[in-house]
């Protein structure tokens, strides 16, 4: 069986959906962050897969690197948020963070 674009896309989609479901279901703040990582990586798989069809063949990889850097930075900020959240609420249950409710 020839492994083509579709297989990559399927893997990316599975990662993405898993991430979204993780974000949507986890009450643990860290779990949510992990869902975010999954979503980003699902997107990275897509970028890399599509890179083959670009004139240079490297664009997707470059953007993936950016996304990874972005994800690292995001994780730093998000963990700081999580720490503060824990300081304020003595928990990291995101359902408790509903002060901005309309």
């Amino acid at each position: 069986m020839q492994i083509g674009l579709s297989e990559y896309l399927i893997v990316g989609a599975v990662l993405f959906v898993a991430g979204v479901v993780c974000m949507a279901t986890k009450r643990n703040g860290i779990g949510v962050l992990m869902g975010v990582e999954l979503v980003l990586n699902g997107a990275n798989v897509n970028f890399v897969a599509f890179a083959r069809y670009t004139p240079l063949g490297l664009d997707g990889q470059i953007i993936s690197l950016f996304v990874i850097v972005l994800a690292a930075a995001e994780a730093a900020v998000a963990l700081a948020i999580a720490l503060n959240f824990y300081n304020n609420h003595m928990t990291i249950d995101v359902d408790r963070g509903d002060q901005l409710k309309g």
Binding site: V20, A24, K26, G97, D98, L100, G102
Partner: protein, 815 residues
């Protein structure tokens, strides 16, 4: 030195104005109303005015070397008619020479008036509006008379008005709507400020050097009279009387204005004396209308009489267009009938101010004012201003106007005297007597007794102001009782008032002892002046037998005068007290009030000392217009129509010599009439041979006719007041129904349109704006529920949202 005369008189004139300003603007209404300062200022101002007037008189006298007193009486004891012609010629020559401007060097002729301009207000081409002065011996006499009497009356008023010196004055004759007496702050300062304003106006009227200025001050005295009559403005009768006086005077003043217009149009000047415009000196009105002999220059031009005005130059643009050469020398002319109109117009003003026959009804009502006002304004000065003006303007009056004046005076004096006989209010008797005496003056001037009329003016001023002040003293003494039937016997309670009043009564009645002691008649002033008038009337009667009433009526009225004056005196001061209560509480007035009475009594008795040879008469004679003493002959218009050089007259005027020749005869008649009147009053009211009440019942119709004042008030009410009311009511109806209707319709329509507009505004515009707001608000409110704060939910929304976007894309944009 001559300049000092007018400077002093101007100062005397302006001082009361200064006093007025201080009194009315000095803030005397703020502090306690018990302050006497304003009154003292008023007295000081007018008193200083008297001193200045006397000073001016002394300067005038010394400048003329007292020629006015030194000259021999022109017609001394000329026996009879033979001398008439000679003396008249002489007199004419004398006058002519005296009127020459040369005046023999330094000496100023006592017959020549001093005139000039104090201040020029404005000049419009030929029209010069200025404040002028015109000073001759008449002006000086008037100044001294007015200031002296005014000073006495001011001092009297210090006492008379003193019950106004309170912060809460209770007016027992005025009621509020609730029926209570009116309570108000005292108005002492206000009274004296009005009095000062009046003095200023009156002196200005006398000093005035042009007829327009006379008119201004004429109106000013009118307004002062209005203010003073209405002094007790809370009393309905007082405010009505003030209105009546003012409105009736307007009627006369309308004639005055017409006269002024005619004079301005045809004379081109208002000035009495010579007038200087730029470099040019022009003759005044008097010099224009009369020549040096006092005649009118009447010529017959194109069938109608025309009066040439001497020394005037016709306006260049008028005549220049016609023929240039003649224009330079052409004189102004005035149609004779227009000169009559001018004279009648000015005289109409005099009728109003002096309360003469058709307009006499305001003066008795004017007695609503405080008594010092009646004494000063409504007997001595303002009402005499009409006579003064008639005298001042004598040169402009044609014989026809003078005849009208005589008859007006004649009717007035009889009418007023008859009403005075039945009047019971002490002040009203005096008011009618004033009207009657003013009628005498008018008659005197009208029958060519120029000096006689003004002589009576001066003497009357003194004795009438005296009597008014006495009545004021009585009124105060009886605690504001004015009805004579409730007095009686007051002689014992208030002797000074009673006997000074008696002096006045004898003076006005013209009683005298018909003998001479030390060359002087034992007579009070009124005898001399009334004698002079009656004598003139008799001489006039001899010359114009058809006008016999002009002698007969005054003669009879002299008797009536004596009767009602003695009736007043007997009623008030003699007999038994008729009202015990009033009598018991009556008291003599304080010295501040009796002192002016004594001063005025002395003057009332002695001001005319020497009669027609005395100083007062000579002073007046010195101002007599040229030609009065010459006399004239009547011309029968059917025989000769306007001869070239003789006067134009329906009546002849008596010369002074003619008057003098009948003087003794007239004097005897007048004295008999007066004595008869006085004796009759004595018999009726003291001896009571017949009960006056009985007579009243016997001639009830006549009595009621007189009590109703000859029904003049009723007549005017029916003829003028009610029609005016009716017209006014109709106009008010028109105003209310038609004009107001139209206006209301417009207003209502506007309101209706506006209400529609409001509906549109509120419903449509506001609704739209509110709708947008409400929808936004509601949408926002409903979306609020979505904002749960649940992170996981948000993610679900995002995911579902993206999913639905994809679904939508596949539905609407399929590949």
């Amino acid at each position: 030195m001559l300049d000092w005369i007018w400077i002093l008189l101007t100062a005397a004139w302006l001082l009361p104005l200064l006093g007025f300003a201080v009194e009315v603007f000095g803030g005397y209404w703020q502090q306690s109303r018990r302050d006497r300062t304003p009154a003292l200022i008023a007295v000081a101002c007018i008193g200083a005015g008297f001193v200045l007037s006397v000073a001016a008189f002394i300067i005038w006298g010394s400048e003329t070397h007292w020629g006015v007193f030194a000259a021999e009486p022109e017609h001394g004891d000329v026996p009879a008619q033979q001398a008439v012609e000679d003396t008249t010629r002489e007199a004419a020559a004398e006058d002519a020479s005296e009127l020459q401007p040369a005046d023999a060097g330094q000496q100023h002729s006592y017959r020549k008036a001093i005139s000039g301009t104090i201040y020029t207000l404005a000049r419009f081409g030929d029209l010069k509006l200025s404040i002028d002065y015109y000073v001759d011996s008449l002006t000086l006499v008037m100044f001294m008379m007015v200031t002296l009497i005014a000073t006495c009356i001011h001092i009297f008023a210090l006492g008379y008005m003193s019950d106004e010196l309170t912060d809460e004055y209770v007016d027992h004759q005025a009621h509020t709507a609730g029926g209570d007496h009116v309570h108000r702050p005292g108005r002492y300062y206000l009274f004296f400020s009005y009095m000062s304003l009046f003095c200023f106006s009156m002196l200005g009227l006398v000093l005035a050097g042009n007829i327009f200025q006379v008119f201004i001050f004429w109106e000013l005295v009118g307004i002062c009279s209005y203010l003073l009559i209405g002094f007790y403005v809370e009393r309905h009768s007082a405010s009505t009387a003030a209105n009546k006086a003012f409105i009736m005077n307007r009627v006369g003043d309308f004639g005055f204005l017409i006269g002024l217009m005619v004079i301005w149009t045809y004379f081109g000047t208002f000035s009495l004396g010579p007038e200087t415009i730029g470099d040019e000196t022009r003759p005044g009105i008097f010099a224009m209308v009369r020549n040096a002999e006092g005649g009118l220059d009447i010529r017959n031009e194109s069938g109608s009489p025309v009066v040439h005005l001497n020394g005037s130059v016709a306006e260049a643009d008028d005549a220049g267009a016609a023929d240039g050469e003649a224009a330079v020398t052409a004189e102004r002319t005035i149609p004779y009938w227009l000169l009559v109109v001018a004279g009648l117009g000015v005289f109409a003003g005099c009728i109003g101010k002096s309360a003469q026959f058709p307009l006499q009804t305001w003066l008795p009502d004017a007695m609503e004012g405080p008594t010092p006002v009646s004494a000063l304004v409504h007997s001595a000065t303002m009402v005499a201003a009409g006579v003064y003006l008639a005298g001042r303007f004598y040169p402009v009056f044609t014989p026809d106007v003078l005849l009208v004046m005589s008859y007006v005076g004649c009717i007035t004096l009889f009418l007023a005297a008859t009403i005075a006989v039945v009047a019971t209010d002490i002040k009203r008797v005096l008011a009618y007597s004033t009207i009657s005496q003013l009628g005498y003056m008018m008659l005197g001037i009208g029958v060519a007794g120029w000096a006689a009329g003004l002589f009576h003016l001066i003497t009357h001023a003194f004795f009438k102001s005296l009597m008014f002040l006495c009545s004021g003293s009585v009124i105060i003494g009886c605690h504001h009782e004015q009805e004579m039937p409730r007095m009686g016997g007051l002689r014992r309670k208030m002797p000074i008032t009673a006997y000074t009043m008696l002096v006045g009564v004898i003076a006005i009645s013209g009683l005298a002892i018909p003998f001479t002691i030390l060359g002087m008649k034992l007579a009070f002033s009124g005898y001399h002046s009334k004698d002079a008038i009656v004598a003139t009337a008799l001489a006039f009667n001899y010359k114009n037998p058809v006008h016999f009433l002009l002698f007969l009526v005054p003669l009879v009225t002299a008797g009536i005068t004596a009767f009602y004056m003695f009736r007043l005196w007997f009623y008030t001061f003699c007999g038994e007290p008729r009202d015990r209560h009033i009598y018991d509480h009556a008291h003599e007035s304080p010295r501040v009030m009796t002192l002016p009475l004594i001063v005025l009594a002395v003057f009332a008795a002695g001001v005319a000392v020497g009669g027609e040879g005395g100083p007062l008469y000579r002073m007046l004679l010195a101002s007599e217009p040229a030609g009065v003493d010459v006399g004239s002959e009547a011309i029968d218009p059917t025989v000769a129509f306007i001869p070239e050089d003789v006067g134009y007259a329906l009546v002849g005027q008596p010369a002074r010599a003619e008057i003098h020749s009948v003087h003794a005869q007239a004097g005897a008649f007048a004295l008999i009439a007066a004595a008869a009147g006085a004796v009759l009053a004595f018999l009726l009211y003291v001896v009571r041979v017949v009960d006056p009440g009985e007579i009243k019942r016997q001639v009830g119709g006549l009595y009621r006719f007189l009590i109703e004042k000859w029904h003049f008030d009723t007549l005017y009410d029916v003829a003028f007041v009610r029609p005016v009311h009716r017209v006014a009511a109709a106009l008010a109806w028109f105003d209310r129904v038609v004009i107001d209707g139209i206006l209301h319709w417009f207003a209502n329509t506007s309101v209706r349109i506006a209400s529609w507009d409001r509906k549109v505004d509120e419903g449509l515009v506001d609704g739209l704006v509110n709708l947008v707001g409400n929808v936004t608000f509601r949408v926002g409110r409903s979306l609020r529920a979505v904002q749960t704060g649940q992170l996981r939910q948000y993610i679900m929304f995002i995911a579902l949202g993206v999913l639905s976007l994809f679904v939508l894309q596949f539905i609407f944009f399929p590949r």
